[in-house]
Symmetry: C2
Subunit: 447 residues, 2 copies
């Protein structure tokens, strides 16, 4: 399909797109505060219907998932994954304009959730509408999945993908978001890390005690410290047997992609007030670690006295909250099993691994043919090369969809978009170009 007509139609659609975005941004859909759920679902149902899609509101135990689709009789199908929930706007006094009153300054539109990821969903919706406006169809069948719990851990999304598996067949999944990178090049993101989080729990006496007793009564805080110290050494090597066994190692082509990725390490280091990164890494090695290494992180300790000043107490219980970020092809269950074995073999059978939750990593191979299509259609509208990121260093439920089809992250944020922070923004021009990119994909993906 020649996409010129479509791209011109996107231009005509600007006013509609920006007014839809404004309407959407005004809904305070904060999942952590259980706010704006119904309004979001109603808005999406109305909007998808308006652009000619069939809508199904899917219940899977939590906030409803909005499913919308149009079968144009194409040989291929594209599925867009987005979420209608946003992060809490707090701290409110750091916003220059109210978080749910979208405001334009310096060519950017500011509002909570605009970058993560309401603007992205509107680019996709506006692109689909464009085909309706010019009385044609995209080259592919279209599906949308918009969930409402991403910012609180997508707890019911596995239920959804099981219960509604028959709706979800697709050839390509476009993931929720991406940004321009630090030097202004639009990203293509091929994956995200997996996750295991939980707590190591050690128990001592059945009551807190005067610390004079510590001379003979076991101290669970020491048990946790000793156990943790066997897990990672001070050179950041994770010592669990077999931990790295399945961790993918980048091939030469992937290393080349990695070299392409800008990483302003000095700026980052100075902004964070650090004298160095872990193991004094820099350059390629630092980037390599950032995107390709799994982690074992202590998120916090709980146990004993945590207030001001001193209290000479012997705690009865101590826990360390941890998360483990997984790279392909590490599996959460396998890692938890190896951690359990490690603790047992090192004399810490008494330490419980509690509250474990997790999900696997996901990554689409850089040589998947859709990566090329997306890069080429993108270059045409952005007028510059897109940059392929093997992964974000963060985690997400992409694995649920990557079992069905390759997943690729796209979006219209920028390096200072402040997702999850006050004064979140996207450039309006990026929003329009991103819409063209989606329209271009829809025109050309079917071949």
């Amino acid at each position: 399909m020649n996409s010129d007509i479509i791209l011109k139609a996107v231009d005509k659609n600007r006013e509609w797109a920006i007014s839809k975005l404004n309407e959407y941004l005004k809904i305070p859909s904060v999942s952590a505060q259980n706010s704006g759920i119904k309004e979001s679902v109603a808005f999406l149902q109305r909007t998808f219907t308006e652009i000619g899609l069939d809508v199904k509101i899917c219940e899977a135990g939590g906030s409803p998932v909005v499913f919308a689709s149009k079968n144009v009789g194409g040989n291929k199908t594209i599925l867009f994954y987005n979420h209608y929930d946003v992060q809490p706007p707090e701290p409110l006094d750091e916003w220059l304009s109210p978080p749910f009153e979208p405001t334009i300054r310096d060519g950017k539109i500011f509002a909570r959730g605009v970058s993560d990821n309401k603007a992205n969903l509107i680019t996709r919706i506006a692109a689909v509408k464009t085909f309706k406006d010019v009385n044609t169809n995209p080259s592919v069948n279209i599906k949308f999945v918009v969930e409402g719990e991403e910012e609180v851990g997508s707890e019911h999304l596995p239920n959804f993908t099981m219960q509604y598996r028959n709706l979800l067949d697709t050839d390509l999944c476009i993931w929720e978001s991406a940004s321009k990178d630090e030097v202004g090049r639009p990203q293509i993101i091929l994956g995200c890390k997996g996750m295991v989080h939980g707590e190591l729990v050690a128990k001592g006496a059945n009551t807190d005690l005067h610390s004079s007793r510590a001379v003979i009564i076991p101290n669970p805080a020491w048990r946790v410290v000793w156990a943790l110290a066997t897990i990672k050494d001070k050179n950041e090597n994770i010592l669990i047997k077999g931990f790295y066994d399945d961790a993918v190692i980048p091939d030469e082509n992937e290393k080349k992609l990695l070299e392409e990725i800008p990483f302003e390490e000095d700026k980052l280091r100075k902004n964070l007030g650090l004298s160095s990164f872990v193991n004094n890494l820099s350059g390629f090695d630092l980037k390599h670690r950032f995107f390709y290494s799994p982690t074992f992180t202590i998120n916090g300790f709980t146990g004993g006295y945590q207030g001001k000043g001193s209290k000479t107490v012997l705690p009865k219980i101590a826990t360390a909250k941890f998360d483990i970020r997984l790279v392909p092809n590490m599996q959460p269950d396998d890692i938890v099993k190896k951690l359990r074995k490690h603790l047992d073999e090192n004399g810490f059978a008494d330490i419980e691994i509690a509250d474990v939750k997790g999900y696997p990593p996901a990554r689409t191979p850089y040589n998947n043919p859709y990566v090329r299509i997306i890069a080429e259609t993108g270059k045409e509208v952005w007028q510059k090369e897109m940059v392929v990121y093997p992964s974000t260093p963060a985690s997400g439920p992409m694995y649920l969809f990557s079992k069905i089809a390759p997943c690729i992250g796209l979006g219209v944020g920028h390096a200072q978009s402040n997702s999850h922070a006050p004064n979140e923004s996207v450039y309006i021009e990026d929003f329009y170009i991103g819409t063209k990119h989606i329209a271009n994909i829809l025109a050309k993906m079917g071949g």
Copy 2:
């Protein structure tokens, strides 16, 4: 001096003593809540005056120290150290009778502070009064020091002992408290452990971060764990170079004393729900460790997320609160210096040792001649052998007075006195016999 007359006079004084104790126990002198300070000082001033002592209210920066004395022209002087403050009574709903309404049940008097250590002070006051009642003088000059900040760390007591050093010369200091032991034998306590407490502080980035960054950003929680793991191994050996150098080792006679001390280890272990004590110790070795070993105790962790559930955060700061209990002849400054050196030499120069406070241990040699006098005068009134404890496993400001004279702990508590806990009590009969013991010492100590 023949003490028979005095001991009979103590019997005649019972009603006065118990009514004084009641009056004293009704004052809610909770230093942590800044309550009852003035009333306590007034009560003590009135009571010391009533028994013929000169009183001086000493200001040294905190709650006043009550000093009372009588020079009888003796060759020797005895000084009694006590404190008028008590622990907070909370949790109130666990008291069978209100904590500041002394109540008699089963031959015991229940009230907050009765064991720690109001009854002990009244035994001493009642003993002195007895000499006045029979128009004679003790064989020794008498001094009392009663401070009001013991339960909150005796912060101003070092100031007091410096400012008022000229008042404090003595030949023997009777320390605040002791109890009957678990098999009902009255204790003589010869010392207490010293103390260093503080925090290990590690700093990372200048802000908490999303834990996906932990792959390249140093995590202060790991720094604290690694540092702690170099300080004590899982066999409870403290690995700081020279830590044990000055720690006294008991001689054969002291070991014999230690064998004499009852220690119901199975009962203690079961009460605390433990399968074993540290290093599976039992019998003599367990007791030896309890009384003669220094400790390094983690009192609590602070850093990262400590609430319910998970938060995948990378903390900017992590601290471990610790206390170190010192045995003779370890010195706090020396131990802190060795800890600093240990951290530096093990690659943890970045870890700060903050909020350090401490004081040395104190111990009177078991063969000090006053120990014999106290044991003999005690046996006469208790009608059984007293048991000599080299130390309590707890800490206290005894060192300030042990620089002046030998210090020996005596008191009328019992093994279930519940000091620092609800339903604190002493046996009334022990209170009377304890008074006789003090009277007997005052009659005979001068020779």
